[in-house]
């Protein structure tokens, strides 16, 4: 989580310095979701379909800081040869794209293919609360439930789609949207990485046992703007969530100040080495 945050902060800095193109959507504040869920998967066989806010998922999946930053800088040594950028990263069983909800049916198809082959693999689709506006999500959930696809839907509910609060976009209770399809929903606080891991682990076990798709609904907070300078949220509210809902501070309290400091330093050094290798530190 600490490493993800350093990378995200570095990316914002590099963007401000004009060293990157495209756009950069950071997951600062949501690291607990990425690390908790991805730590529970079987990296040898499970598949992840991430989204426009996918750096944390990617780093939790493979820790490839160098490939990620180089990719976003458009360098040939980036994980996709510098052709995909922030939102189009593919490596092994990790996929992303920037189109809201579009990866959800694809993830269901991947899960079905693996079930067809009998590998026991599970596919995961990450979506945000804003993504519930897209029809493809419901088409995919219907098929997943109907065909009992081995798919875990992970909702990172940060309360905003870019600048528009969830309350202005969605009628009803988002956490219950999957229920009419017969998909069981488990709701957890994203800032508690250990709780997220435990719940994800349990749900993946159920899916692997052939019980069909599950949905993990994570309440979380995005500390940084959607992209860069487009944050219209209330300052006091932002300060409050920074103070109370930071997954890293939560973990620090659990592991103790000394351990936290060791991990923090190690992460900082690791990211700095990559930035130096890329000539941007």
């Amino acid at each position: 989580m600490i490493l993800i945050r350093y990378v995200e902060q570095s990316l914002l800095r590099l963007y401000a310095q004009g060293l990157m193109g495209g756009t950069v959507h950071t997951c600062i504040g949501q690291e607990g979701c990425a690390v908790g869920v991805v730590s529970a998967i079987d990296r040898q066989r499970d598949m992840l379909f991430s989204n426009h806010r996918g750096h944390g998922h990617y780093l939790a999946y493979c820790g490839d800081i160098h490939g990620l930053i180089a990719e976003i800088m458009g360098l040939p040594i980036g994980v996709c040869g510098g052709m995909g950028g922030s939102q189009h990263i593919q490596r092994e069983n990790f996929y992303t794209n920037g189109i809201q909800g579009a990866g959800v049916p694809i993830a269901v198809g991947m899960g079905l293919a693996e079930r067809f082959k009998g590998t026991g693999a599970v596919s995961l689709a990450f979506l945000g609360d804003g993504t519930f506006g897209e029809g493809a999500v419901y088409e995919a959930m219907n098929l997943a439930a109907l065909w009992s696809a081995p798919t875990l839907f992970v909702v990172e509910h940060n309360g905003y789609a870019q600048s528009t609060p969830s309350s202005l976009q969605h009628a009803g209770d988002l956490s219950r949207r999957a229920e009419p399809f017969g998909i069981p929903v488990t709701r957890t606080e994203g800032a508690d990485v250990i709780a997220v891991f435990e719940v994800a682990n349990r749900l993946l076990g159920q899916i692997r046992a052939g019980k069909g798709p599950r949905l993990l609904f994570l309440d979380t907070h995005r500390f940084a703007p959607h992209s860069k300078g487009d944050d219209f949220r209330d300052r006091e509210e932002l300060e409050r969530i920074n103070r109370e809902c930071d997954p890293i501070q939560r973990l620090a309290a659990q592991i103790g100040a000394d351990t936290y400091e060791q991990v923090r330093k190690a992460a900082e050094i690791e990211v700095d080495i990559v930035l130096q290798e890329l000539g941007v530190q």
Binding site: G84, V108, K117, S123, A140, N142
Partner: protein, 325 residues
Amino acid sequence: MAKLTMAQALNQALREAMDEDDAVLVLGEDVGVDGGVFRVTEGLLDRFGAARAIDTPLAESAIVGVSIGMAAHGLRPVCEIQFSGFSYLAMQQLEGHAARLRWRSRGRFSASLVMRMPYGGGVRALEHHSESKEVYFAHTPGLKLVAPSGPRNARALLRAAIRDPDPVVFLEPKRLYRAFREEVPDDDEPMALGESQTRREGNDLTLISWGAMLQPTLKAAEQLAKEGTEAEVIDLLSLSPLDDTRLADSARRTGRVVIVHEAHRSYGPGAEVIARLVEKAFWYLEAPIARVTGYDTQVPFFARETDYLPDVARIVTSAHQVLEA
């Protein structure tokens, strides 16, 4: 060797592909119990079971999206969109992901799927059941686009499309499903995507067409022959990639070209064919290239449909103008 309709020949191709490779499966609206609205998937459910002949909900986006996921993970899905007019609901998945997966992953992944759909007019149907919008797909890098013109090449092209590592949009001219029968060989008949065929040889004029329009084009060539004009007729078969070498070779020889298609005129497929001929055969052209096409309106309902679709008379008139220019 059996004399088959195009619907039967396509059915044979699917059956053969599914027999040969367990990874091949079909999915779509009413493809299982019903065997598809045009009966192209008939019997597949009985032979291969519900795991490989899959009835889906009315959800084109999910049908194509799930197919992409299946294809990326080793299956060979052949999805059916009931009519090409319904495909726009799946366009995001097709254009945004199927077509881009290979490019985006620098060749490490591909969406080896086939999206079959009936297209074109001539069956007295409603507008979304009659249209020819080939260019939506042909304009998209990463997609291949195929349109057979009869039972024999339909079977061979569908087999080739299923084997192809890239996403192939397979347009089935719906008025040809039962229009005529052809001998279809029992053995597999290799056919490459991206190659056109010369259906009639001639040195006076080149007529270029594909799909259902090939029939009136061949008839127009026969009529011209009675007047002493020998027209060459080229069947494109693949619109993307486009076999412009054969087209340019013919245009260099005849110097006169007419393109025939059902699609709307403006920015239609004919415009790209003309551009290629201008690039490759400009100095050999004796006359401006002509197009006989559908009009820039939606396809009208059955009472006016014949006004919209190119026919033998329009093709011959256009050929005369090109010959006299």
